[in-house]
């Protein structure tokens, strides 16, 4: 039962990542791509935690916490970069 739930969760997260990647690739503007990237970072965080629980190693959970913090800082950097590029044009 527990293995079944973990397997189903893994399959659903992989499907979510595929759908979000399609949106990321064919988004017409940079705003749509940024929205898809926002969803993608949350889904990949969930996948990392799922892998940590499934293998029973707490190392992956520490990695997930650091990934969450730096993904958050990465968003600030990406928006600042895109805004500067649009102003410089």
């Amino acid at each position: 039962m527990s293995a079944f739930i973990l397997k189903g969760m893994q399959t659903a997260l992989v499907i979510f990542v595929c759908i979000t990647l399609i949106r990321l690739m064919l988004g017409p503007t940079s705003s749509d791509r940024l929205v898809a990237l926002n969803v993608l970072s949350a889904v990949s965080l969930a996948f990392l935690i799922l892998w940590g629980i499934q293998t029973g190693r707490t190392l992956y959970l520490d990695v997930a916490l650091v990934y969450d913090i730096f993904g958050f800082l990465g968003f600030l950097a990406i928006t600042r970069f895109l805004k500067n590029r649009e102003e410089g044009r």
Binding site: R23, V35, V43, T58, F75
Partner: protein, 109 residues
């Protein structure tokens, strides 16, 4: 043990339903604000439900404590990230071509 698995199954079903709704909304909506609404709201709820299901299934006390910290930090960081994205959409003006009321010059809203 069986109660934890039943609760995990309920959280898994709720998270999958919200995730599918968010993914449909990411493709059906037309302008970036609506896509941000669908993606961030349903994505956050789906991931939060999955984290609750994993909290029920966690094997040891060490992973449970780390998972509680991760849930609290996720509830802080995910809306803040959506807010950053929304401010970027507002300042870049990508949504102005879809509706005229989303233009920055229009003061009617």
């Amino acid at each position: 043990m069986i109660i934890r698995e039943i609760l995990a199954l309920i959280a898994f079903v709720i998270g999958t339903a919200f995730g599918i709704a968010g993914m449909v909304g990411l493709f059906r909506f037309k302008d970036p604000y609506s896509r941000l609404h669908a993606g961030s709201l349903c994505g956050t709820t789906a991931v939060f439900s999955y984290l609750l299901a994993l909290l029920m299934l966690s094997p040891s006390l060490a992973s449970t404590a780390r998972l509680v910290i991760l849930i609290v930090f996720f509830l802080i960081s995910a809306p803040t990230g959506s807010s950053i994205v929304a401010r970027f959409i507002w300042e870049s003006g990508d949504a102005e071509q879809h509706r005229s009321s989303m233009a920055k010059k229009d003061k009617s809203l």
